[in-house]
C-alpha cells in the first residue's frame, strides 16, 4: 500500500507530489505525451522563410492542424499537431456533453498547463473569497512554488495586484508596439488611475534567465505549434525530476474512475487508457488532482450519484483587438514574445477584471482571415499590413457559482457528464475599456470584441468547493479533505468557491503544496 496516491500530473498533482517528498507516493495519470517535432528548432518565422514546405511540421502529415476549421475551437493554441495532444482522447474517455459549455479536458502529462498562458498572480484575501485560508497561510507555499518554477515580471503599478515575488526575474522583452503602448500609459497614469485601471509588465512563469537547469525564453514564436518550451513552466518538467529522483512511482496510461474510502485507506479503481484493463490501487491517502471537472466526475461516480448538480465556474473571456494606427505597415517583429507582454487590471465597483495583452505573432494568419468583413484576398492584404499594429487583449471575467452553471453525472454508467452554463458579457464595461484604450492612441471597437463560448477561459473551478461550514458530500475542508470522506483530498481547481479574474493555477499549486505538506506531517 502506498502512503499516498495522486491522481493527475497537472499543476496541482505535481505540487502535491513535491509536498509529499519522503513518502511512498504513486501518481496515476493518463500521461499523454507530445509528439516529437524535430524540425521546429528555431524561430517559426525564420523557418517559414527558409523551409519550402512546413505542412507536415505545422499542420501534421494527416493535416490534423486544419481540423479546427470544421468545429468550434476551444483555443487556437490547442489545434496544431504539436499541441493537439493536450486535448487528445478526452472527448471519448472523459466526455462532457453540453450545448452551452465547451469543456477542455486534458489527459496529457502536465494537464492543461501544457497550453497555459503562464500567468502567475498571487491572490489577495478578497480574491480568496469564501476559501477558509488566509494569504498569510499561503505565502510560504507561494514562495516555494515560485522558487521552483521561476517567475518573471516587474515591480510596477500591478505590484499591489499581483503581490511580491522573492526572486523575480526580469520581464519578457516588449515588442515595439507594446513598448509604445506602455510608454503612453506611463505618461497618462494619473488618468488611468482615476478610472481604476492599471497596466504593468506581464507576471509569468516564464524564464528570462537560466533557472533550475532550464534555458531562458528564446522568442521563437512556437507557442501555438509546440508544447514543452523549457522556458515556459510545465508541470511535466517537475514530474520528470520526481521520476528521475525516484520520489514517486509514476503509473501512466490509467484513468481513475472511482474510489472507495475505507477505514484503513482508499481503494482506487482505474481503467487503462485503451479501456481493456482495470486495476485497483491502494493507498492510505488519495489526492485528487485530475482537474475541476474530472475530480468532480470521480467524486460523483464514487458515490453513484446521478442526481446532484455540482457547480462549475470558468473565467469567461473577451478578446479585444487593439490596433495602433501608427504601426500599420511597419515590419512584423518576428522575434517578439509570443507570451503575454503586459497585464491590465480594471476595477469596476466590487468586481476586478484582469487581462493579458499579446502580440499578433502567434497563430497562423489564415485562422483569422474570415473574421474580417472583407473578401478573403483583401483580408489577407489587410492582415499583413495590420498585424504589426495589432495586439490582443484577453480580458478575464470573475465568476461566482450560479444555479444555471452545473455538471451532472449521467446514470448510464458511461462516466459522461452533462453540463450547462450561462454567461453574458458586460457590454458597458467593455465599451468603457475601449474608451480607455483610445486614450492610449489605440483603436478598439466594441463591435470587434470576440467572446469565445463558455468554457473557453479554461480556468475551471468550484465543483467541490472548500468551505468553513460544510453541508454536503461535495464540499471540502480547509485541510483539503473532501467532506464525508476520511482519506480523500482535493488538490486542483475544484476547491475554489469562486473565481477572481486572475489565473488560478499559481494559487491552486500553493494550496496543493500546503495540503500535501500537512498531510506529509500527518503521515509521518
Amino acid at each position: 500500500m502506498f502512503d499516498a496516491c495522486i491522481v493527475g500530473s497537472g499543476p496541482g498533482g505535481v505540487s502535491a507530489a513535491l509536498g509529499l517528498r519522503g513518502r511512498r507516493v504513486c501518481m496515476l495519470d493518463a500521461g499523454l505525451l507530445p509528439p516529437p517535432r524535430p524540425n521546429l528548432e528555431s524561430n517559426v518565422f525564420d523557418l517559414r522563410q527558409s523551409t519550402p514546405d512546413l505542412t507536415s511540421d505545422l499542420l501534421g502529415d494527416d493535416l490534423s492542424g486544419l481540423a479546427h476549421i470544421f468545429r468550434t475551437p476551444v483555443s487556437l493554441k490547442l489545434n496544431s499537431p504539436g499541441t493537439s495532444f493536450i486535448l487528445e482522447l478526452a472527448d471519448r474517455i472523459t466526455p462532457v456533453v453540453s450545448d452551452s459549455f465547451h469543456a477542455a479536458i486534458s489527459l496529457a502529462q502536465g494537464g492543461l498547463a501544457n497550453g497555459w498562458g503562464a500567468g502567475v498572480y498571487r491572490f489577495h484575501q478578497r480574491d480568496l473569497g469564501a476559501l477558509p485560508v488566509t494569504t498569510a497561510q499561503l505565502a510560504p507555499f507561494y514562495d516555494a512554488i515560485s522558487a521552483h518554477m521561476g517567475v518573471c515580471g516587474a515591480e510596477d503599478d500591478l505590484l499591489s495586484d499581483f503581490g511580491t515575488e522573492p526572486q523575480l526575474q526580469p520581464p519578457v522583452r516588449l515588442s515595439a508596439n507594446m513598448a509604445r503602448l506602455y510608454a503612453r500609459y506611463q505618461s497618462r497614469r494619473a488618468f488611468f488611475h482615476r478610472h481604476h485601471a492599471r497596466i504593468g509588465r506581464a507576471r509569468l512563469a516564464v524564464l528570462t534567465q537560466p533557472h533550475n537547469g532550464r534555458a531562458p525564453y528564446a522568442y521563437r514564436n512556437l507557442e501555438f505549434f509546440q508544447a514543452h518550451d523549457p522556458a515556459i513552466y510545465n508541470p511535466a518538467f517537475t514530474l520528470r525530476g520526481l521520476i528521475r529522483n525516484r520520489e514517486i512511482a509514476y503509473e501512466p496510461n490509467w484513468i481513475v474512475t472511482r474510489y472507495e474510502d475505507l477505514e484503513a485507506g482508499v481503494r482506487i479503481h482505474a481503467v487503462s487508457l485503451d479501456q481493456q484493463r482495470s486495476q485497483v490501487f491502494e493507498a492510505r491517502k488519495l489526492l485528487l488532482a485530475a482537474g475541476a471537472i474530472n475530480s468532480a466526475r470521480i467524486a460523483l461516480a464514487s458515490n453513484y450519484d446521478f442526481g446532484t448538480r455540482l457547480p462549475i465556474c470558468d473565467n469567461s473571456l473577451a478578446v479585444f483587438p487593439l490596433l495602433d494606427l501608427r504601426a500599420i505597415g511597419a515590419p512584423l517583429g518576428t522575434h517578439d514574445a509570443g507570451v503575454a507582454q503586459l497585464n491590465v487590471v480594471l476595477d469596476d465597483g466590487p468586481r476586478t477584471f484582469q487581462g493579458s495583452i499579446y502580440g499578433s505573432t502567434g497563430a497562423l494568419r489564415s485562422d483569422l482571415l474570415p473574421n474580417f468583413p472583407l473578401p478573403l484576398r483583401s483580408s489577407l492584404a489587410f492582415a499583413r499590413a495590420c498585424a504589426p499594429a495589432l495586439s490582443l487583449l484577453m480580458l478575464f471575467y470573475p465568476e461566482t457559482p450560479r444555479a444555471t452553471n452545473y455538471l451532472r453525472l449521467r446514470p448510464d454508467g458511461s462516466g459522461t457528464l452533462d453540463a450547462a452554463y450561462q454567461w453574458s458579457p458586460d457590454a458597458v464595461l467593455e465599451r468603457r475599456l475601449c474608451g480607455l484604450w483610445r486614450k492610449l492612441g489605440v483603436v478598439c471597437l466594441p463591435s470587434l470584441i470576440q467572446h469565445p463560448a463558455p468554457g473557453g477561459g479554461i480556468h475551471y473551478a468550484g465543483t467541490l468547493p472548500m468551505a468553513s461550514s460544510r453541508h454536503g458530500a461535495y464540499q471540502t475542508h480547509a485541510d483539503g479533505r473532501l467532506n464525508r470522506t476520511r482519506h480523500v483530498y482535493l488538490c486542483d481547481g475544484s476547491i475554489f468557491p469562486e473565481l477572481p479574474a486572475k489565473n488560478l493555477t499559481y494559487t491552486l499549486m500553493a494550496l496543493a503544496l500546503r495540503t500535501a505538506t500537512r498531510l506529509n506531517e500527518g503521515l509521518a
Binding site: 517559414r48 522563410q49 511540421d57 492542424g65 486544419l66 511597419a330 518576428t334 474570415p370 473578401p375 492584404a381
Partner: protein, 133 residues
C-alpha cells in the same frame, strides 16, 4: 478544365502558379474534411462555370456566416501559408507604411466591387437554388 484546387488557388493568388504538391494536399484535406459537405454542389458549379469564388464566398459569409466555401478557401490559404513561396503574402517583413495606407481605399473599393459582383452572380446564376445557400 481547371481543378477545384486550381480555381480556389487562382481566386486567392491570381498571379502565382500553384506549386507542385499543393493540389495533392488540398485533395487530402478535401477527402478528410469535406465528406458530405452540403456546399459541394455549389463549389462544383463554381468550378465548372469558372465563377468568381471569392465574390460568391464574400456575399455568403456576410449574409450567412462561415460556410463550406469559406472553409475550402481557408484550407487553401492555410496550406499556402505554411510554404515559404507565400511568406511575403502573409508576413510584412519590410516597412510598407505608405503602401498600407494608400491601399486602404483600394481595399474598400475592392470589397464593394466583390460584393456587387457576388450579388450579381447569385441572381444571374440563381445560386440560391443550391442547398444551404
Amino acid at each position: 478544365m481547371l481543378s477545384e484546387a486550381a480555381v480556389l488557388h487562382r481566386a486567392l493568388f491570381p498571379k502565382t502558379a500553384m506549386p507542385p504538391g499543393l493540389e495533392a494536399r488540398y485533395l487530402q484535406a478535401r477527402d478528410q474534411f469535406f465528406a458530405n459537405d452540403p456546399a459541394a454542389p455549389l463549389v462544383a458549379y463554381i468550378v465548372e462555370k469558372r465563377l468568381d469564388p471569392e465574390a460568391v464566398e464574400y456575399v455568403l459569409r456576410l449574409r450567412r456566416g462561415s460556410n463550406g466555401l469559406t472553409r475550402r478557401l481557408q484550407v487553401m490559404l492555410t496550406l499556402c501559408e505554411v510554404r515559404s513561396a507565400y511568406d511575403a503574402r502573409f508576413v510584412q517583413r519590410r516597412s510598407g507604411r505608405f503602401l498600407a495606407w494608400a491601399g486602404a481605399p483600394w481595399l474598400a473599393l475592392r470589397a464593394t466591387f466583390k460584393f456587387i459582383r457576388g450579388l450579381y452572380l447569385f441572381r444571374a446564376r440563381r445560386l440560391y437554388r443550391f442547398p444551404h445557400v
